[in-house]
Subunit: 138 residues, 6 copies
């Protein structure tokens, strides 16, 4: 089995909070990440797909295809955006890295399926110390 | 001459815009960095001081002192903040990395001077591709 | 399934050797890593836990909790220490990265279990070229 | 179970193309990677083996052994070489990173087996954005 | 004084050799870098310009402008190319990183001058261990 | 002017302390870095030389020469050693990164001078957050 990983980056603002909680309650749970004036990150996104390489090309999938899908469906909707306010696939969700990884999975899976490869993991590096990875039961 | 560099990190939101300009004009000049809903970065700050090491300790300056100064006067005021709205030393300034580096110089210089070392450069890495460095004429 | 990884760092001295062997025998097996005067590393520790995010917070586990556990039970006992002489959970063991990863697993597992998440892997990067990962059969 | 990863690096030239296709067809499929005048990369190779540490040494396998095997059978045959023209284990194959990872697996597996550890994954980082990993069904 | 650095990357093939020397003589001087079948690198290019920020924008220079210039005049001519055979501004020169840095300086200088900023340094990282930097006397 | 930087790495143990001070006084000044049982680091050494490239080779200096000098006179004497106890050129000096950088300068300068290039800076990265650089008045 071959696994191919493509890294893309986006810079975004977010805030960790639950709307029905007071600012105090949000601060108690989320600490400084709940700042009502937002903060932000340089997010690194690692998308891994798996399958068997095409014997005619030696490639699992054309990287230009991967890059185009990631750019069109994920990066262009997240980069230089406010994750809480502007990203449609995150509406109604807490803007945690965990939720972001799960939402990106759901956005990307059909596009890779239609190209004949399986989505394997969505990994997001929020900072050099904090990394979240998601694999949906399949 | 010995140069000692300490790296610290902060995550913040910002927006590039000039208040007296329309959103359209701001977008024309600053592109997606002018997004009114903010975006953000993992900033890396490299502060370099220079001087002669103390012959009794072999140290130019105690790193715990450097770290304490950076934390108290810079990082605690920037980390998980909105640079445009919440950072006092950036008020009335466009929240560019250039202006941020110059403002941090002015904040830090007296503290290092009082410890007997000269501030040499303020470097801010906004992303892996964009780096700004400032040296004040002295 | 969500996997969350937290990186922490520690700087320590160690020596690879087996007490009942002569210095020559130790050198034969461990090479320069057996130097009786010690050597050291900047170790990077990556601790991965897994589980389902809490639907109320969107978080698998509070990162401040993870960081506190790692600091209290692992980093404070290893950082700026001699692994052979001073680290209680390494006594009677050869100070290899393999043994260190297994020992850290045993130290951390109950603390994460009591927080409702499963420990998934302990990874230690001893240098940019050498990485050890441990997963206990569960 | 312990997993040990060793990183090695090599710099090589290659070209993505299929001999029976015209230059136009190759360009259509492989883009600028099909340049007939070659291009190249700083490849990073991560080889992971797995097993139980030897209780007498605390080591899964001696890293000097790992490094010697990688150097003799892989790095010396790839470094500063043209993958299409000069690397015997890539003859008759398209010089994709996928094929390279699979070929390196076949080269290395018997050497690690004879040392009593199992080869776990071959990972190749062709650039900071593109990573291929291979695990053979066993 | 503000210094702004932009990083760009390109992957290229090259060979170190002097045409009037035999292959043996080239090997004697340049070692495996003289391989007649080429080898290659992931080059990282760091271009630093200096000046005073524009008080209306807080910017030394618009990064999109920097990126456009680098892409048009340097990256598009080097990426996925053979430096010896295909890069016009390297014709008649030995394809060393030193010569490459000097040639890129001469290509870029007029473009930055016409934008009102001074070119400060051209730095090329050929590998994680080898870095060349050029500053032309001005 | 061309500047060429070569990176090398070494892993060593050290302790910050002044012999004529008590352990308490040493702890007061140097904190946990004064641990009598030692600690250690993965040091990264960046040596920069400067000059004009040789027009016959396009090289400032042969990198194999640089690497041989660094290995023979610096790395082999520091790697897997105790800086306080075993490194002759650090005897009688406090094992600070500042002193180490200055001592390495004095060790290396004559070797580069005899090759016709000037030593420009010695930089040591003790950790990802702490960097020391030395330039001797010349």
């Amino acid at each position: 089995m071959i696994y191919l990983t493509r890294r893309e980056r986006f810079n975004a603002a977010h805030r960790m909070y639950r709307e029905e909680w007071s600012d105090e309650k949000n601060y108690e749970v989320f600490g400084k990440c709940s700042n009502p004036n937002w903060h932000g990150h340089n997010y690194e996104l690692f998308v891994t797909v798996r399958g068997e390489p095409d014997p005619h090309t030696g490639l699992l999938i054309n990287l230009k295809e991967v890059s185009r899908i990631l750019r069109e469906y994920v990066i262009d909707r997240l980069d230089h955006k406010n994750i809480n306010l502007e990203v449609d696939f995150m509406q109604g969700k807490i803007a945690s890295t965990e939720n972001l990884a799960m939402a990106i999975w759901d956005v990307l899976e059909p596009h890779f399926k239609s190209l004949g490869v399986a989505l394997h993991t969505i990994q997001i590096k929020e900072s050099e110390n904090n990394i979240v990875e998601y694999q949906k039961n399949q």
